[in-house]
Symmetry: C2
Subunit: 128 residues, 2 copies
Amino acid sequence: MLRKHFTAVEPVAISQTGFKGLSARYVLTSADGCPHFAMRVMEFEPQGHTSLHAHLEEHEIFVIEGEPLYIDASGKETRLRVGDAVYVPPEEPHQFKNVGQTMMRLLCLIPILPGANGRSTTPCPIRK
Amino acid sequence: MLRKHFTAVEPVAISQTGFKGLSARYVLTSADGCPHFAMRVMEFEPQGHTSLHAHLEEHEIFVIEGEPLYIDASGKETRLRVGDAVYVPPEEPHQFKNVGQTMMRLLCLIPILPGANGRSTTPCPIRK
């Protein structure tokens, strides 16, 4: 058994184009021996956001803190709350924003596809 | 995108031998289209516990509420706290107990192995 409090894992700023005020804590990945999927904590500062983006990996997300807004490829906005579970299928375009005044944290899991390590995702074109 | 608050998923009592006061909410599984791994919320009443058990699936766990005790095959006890991430490798014997006075909740993820649906695990012998 391996145990670590998520705050013991240093956050790494994400500098991807269109992302702002966003860091990742790579809590459980290939580096920990995880064979199939990885656990990250994504931290958004107030007004922080991703771009509308898509990747080969699906997401399974659990909202642990803050006030997320989810935006789909059509621009439809959905407010999320702590305790929400969100499934984003592979290749589905999605965007997250922190619309609260405090840090927003998403537990964000991805499969570890062949050749990947569970830290970053594999980009793919946005199909609207 | 599929969203559901975990409390909107009905808990199902687990009647497995050696388990007590334990229910599962099958939040994201094959039934939701998840291709690789599944998200469950395991709920333990005060004094609720699993047996010492093992299965082919690894666990990635995130403590969302309560006071868990983790017990390994040698009997070693580890207190966990909210925000802890726990990786239990495939086939590693493990036991959880609620040693608090309130409900304990673990976000507990497993891979969906071939032929499985992400609800239950595939038992294997306990090797000490």
